[in-house]
Symmetry: D2
């Protein structure tokens, strides 16, 4: 059975998802491409042997399932449209630009579940949970060989910030991956967050860059995160868990070493796509397999997305109020479904 | 379009190929499993949602294309049967246990091509050509940044030799990967081979292990290969090209580093499957894509297989005659098609 | 000319210094050993061909120069005695257990300089400034190739805390190395410090361990320091400078790699001596060379020691007051010499 | 007690030895420098606070012990002069340009021992035996944890060959280090040697470069050595021992890692001095300590030097006769002392 998946957004991530579906995924195909730019939609559709449109409603109608990779601001409305049509949807992070909108989508999904039963329809594109290295690290940690975790050091460096980047968007758009992966790795939600910064790089215009984020989980683990979106030298993601009797760290994934010009070197990627190519593929295959087998997807849920947004809100509050620790609000308090604040 | 692929052999490699087809390949499915052991065939067929049989002829009849992963001794006959039925086939290495049989299959394919035109039907499973690290190494070498290649150092270590292993089978079954990859990397055929050995490991029963193989290409590059099939400590494949102004080496591909018990360590696999998981997947996807698009597969051909067998023959001649360099015979001399001894 | 150096303290560091003098240093010898434990003094003296005593005054009288490696609490009195006798002295860190005592010693030295002119007599044993890796890192940073520094990540892990360790002594005795090396690396004094901690390791009795220290320099660089004195797995010191266009990091200094039991590994030391063996030797040779040539030693001064103590005080104030940033007091304000708060 | 050491030769190695004596060695000083070029002798003597001369006889007369670092061709005559004067001497490798001359010196020393008793006076400068990494590797091998050795892989690459280099001098001057270190590591003498080569680098004028040397020890271990003296990219020495259940390898000794321009890199030295700085210092300190304590030096002996020369002869015979294995002659057969061909 070949699942027909419509892809909304023909930019970098939409193109990536459509191409992965077309070339690498078993049991699915990219069936339609939508973009507000008709040329862009058409060009991508030709590369992946799909139809195209500029009308998202047409795509949702036509598809077995939907991938949303359009501008962040469009995510809530499009997810709500998929929910209304009863179509499974994989939404690129973030679920919404603000916590309030994210909660709104979450509640809409909860209402649908209350009405018709069954699992939720929305899966979130936090692809790092499918990266083999993060998965191996989580397994090694929870094997217990090194005792319980105490500290986490994360580094997230990208080459150049996109247009319109701000100190806040550095948190909500880039560090958001760490805000999701830290509680996932540790199996414990983030309860407090603080923000600090050194002097800003002269190459970072209009924003504070780099930044240091501190997270504290319910279990008392402290995570120190560096996010630096104008690091220039390369795309570099690191993570190290310090446990009571041992330490586990992600390792540089270069495939070859070169000896040349008085140095030994390995290459760094210019952006996230080579580093997380496997993660994107495994994420989509996992989602497609769940859909084809009528199972609940193991991708993150809207509740996970809401939690990441709530942590981002606390980080930004700390940023704007002097850097002290700020309690992460329970985003589900007062929600109709009264869900407990656990991580999935 | 979903290609229906029959898999002959439900042992380690057959299971791997069938599972990869079922879970990871776009545009194909494992449609039937054959094994001489009916239970084994049935069990694998259930895991990959295929039918099963003990009759290879039935499978060839039923399938759009065939994968042969049964015992080495059955390869020639099964490939000939696929040729007779006009079915595309991907045969695990080696094409045949002996050079003579390999040439026979090669000639049968050439005759078919002469009769009906078009490309050959047989693709060979030398998966390392699809390993991203080898591919990156080859690209880096041929970028020319480091000048022409002069030397190659290869190491191939496995944990324990299989039952019935001999000094000769260490060449034809294990080192054969290096005999294929060396001329592929260098774009130059092997013209001479020599064999040497130290004292044998006391843990290697009934064979000389490790062995050293020296290959000389038409371009004058020398490759020094260590093959050690009872290395015990782990599966470890290395390759380093020494060029005029720089060196390129494969790098250990571990994803995480562990700090524990006064040491920093990374894991080594127990066998080839984790190390070459990507290579097997990319090999099959490339083959399936070519079949689905009516293109010639970029997998190695029977001519490549014959060449690797011819080099293995020269190595064994050296082994049995004191270790001097032995000229690799041109296996195509006198063949009806008079093909030149170049590498693909 | 062979300088006669007396060593006070025959514990781990005193033994190390005496042995290094005896075996590796050009132009000096260990001439006398003093310890309050006569047996310990005698035994060490025999190993290094020196005389021995239990009387520090006798040693100071007898020696051309003095090394103080006795208990921290004895440092101020012994340094003052050396100053009174006009003998050059190399004092192990810290100069004093408290900032007030350190300032007292600093002022005594300043008065002596005011009276008799010339340079100071006291050199401090912050050996990391002589570690070739830290020196190479500092040179690489100040070469300017990577732009100005923005962030520093430091990790200091030891196997087990000594008897009587407390949350405070973890700062004054272990992290003190980072409190000295950070401003030295950056050529900018520390002006603010903050302290945070995760849950404590169950293996750390009677103290908070690990701890996170944040330092801000006058230049606006932020340093994030992990100090973990019961890390169990090995002695592990790391440092990474993040600059505007590149990053420089210390590298694991293991000399061999072992492949065994399905893993690739390098050894970690059990304590600081193998890691900093070169640093201790170079520190002593540099000190001896300066003395033998009548030059000012390039070892850190009492002013450097006072600065490190002042930063430690700010860290402890933050520890005891909720973790906010605390301004590092200028320890030289109101001092008779009115020295500017620069780093040497 | 300060040993007065005369240094013959003020070129690269003589300058290095004199500087090390002056700056780093406990218990000795560079007392006189001799060079045929008076200016060069004088300039070096000023840097190390020694006297100077152009007359080696004057230096031998004046010194407690002698270091010979002049042109290879002068070694035999100068060592014989030291023997005649009864002065301990440390001679840079090789002991002599030819095996016959080396044997002559060896026999002269044996006669002196026969006459006056006691140990020999000549120590050889094969500094790698004092490199901490090689020593750690040898200890790890002989700890027995990995079973007996089977294979050795050595790589010796330098940036550019010196003037007048030939295919033969690449063996006698560069690979000679491996010809000494292999039997030392394995505790087993080399009994056979063979030589092979790929096409030569276009950057290597007038010689075959790189070369492959195969050595077989009495214990049946096979060592495969690459020597490449125009490797251009950097000074790179590697060694890996393959034992029955594990492998031990030298590790790149860079102190810092740099992340810059889309790559992660470590530096390679331009020549051997930084790589073996510790080895040269430890070699000299060991020699000086033995002399000062009246003990036999643990540096290699003239017998070791003769053995390395004998292996080099066999390699060159193989080079000139088609590449087959050549038996290493027992250089001590017929010598007056009839010494057995073991390694020290």
């Amino acid at each position: 059975m070949t699942l027909r998946i419509g892809v909304i957004g023909a930019g970098i991530m939409g193109s990536d998802h459509a191409t992965i579906l077309h070339r690498w995924i078993s049991g699915a195909e990219a069936s339609m491409i939508v973009d507000i730019d008709a040329d862009r939609a058409r060009q991508l559709s030709e590369r992946v042997a799909a139809s195209w449109s500029t009308d998202a409603a047409e795509l949702i109608e036509d598809s077995d399932a939907v991938i949303i990779a359009s501008h962040d601001s469009t995510h809530p409305e499009l997810v709500l449209a998929c929910l209304a049509a009863g179509k499974p949807v994989m939404c690129e992070k973030p679920l919404a630009p603000t916590l309030a909108e994210a909660i709104e989508v979450y509640q809409a999904e909860q209402e649908l579940i209350a009405q018709r039963g069954g699992p939720g329809l929305v899966s979130m594109g936090f692809m790092r949970r499918f990266d083999p290295a993060y998965v191996e690290m989580k397994n090694a940690l929870h094997s217990g060989s090194h005792g319980p975790a105490l500290l986490l050091h994360c580094v997230s460096r990208t080459v150049t910030s996109g247009p319109g980047s701000t100190s806040r968007s550095s948190v909500t758009n880039s560090a958001i991956h760490e805000l999701d992966i830290v509680p996932w790795l540790l199996d414990s939600p983030v309860v407090e967050a603080a923000w600090q910064a050194p002097r800003s790089s002269s190459l970072a215009e209009g924003l504070q860059d780099p930044q240091i984020i501190l997270l504290r989980t319910a279990d008392g683990v402290l995570a120190a995160i560096e996010t630096f979106i104008n690091a220039r030298y390369g795309y570099d993601i690191r993570c190290e868990v310090v446990a009571e009797t041992g330490v586990i760290a992600l390792r540089d994934s270069a495939a070859i070493t070169t000896f040349s010009g008085k140095s030994t070197s390995t290459s760094l990627a210019a952006d996230w796509r080579p580093r997380f190519a496997d993660a994107y593929r495994l994420e989509l295959q996992t989602w497609v397999d769940a859909l084809n087998n009528g199972l609940v997807s193991s991708l993150p849920s809207t509740a996970d997305a809401v939690r990441a947004n709530a942590v981002a809100d606390a980080v930004i509050t700390s940023m704007e109020s002097g850097g002290s620790f700020v309690t992460v609000p329970n985003p589900f308090v007062g929600s109709k479904v009264g869900e407990v604040n656990g991580t999935s």
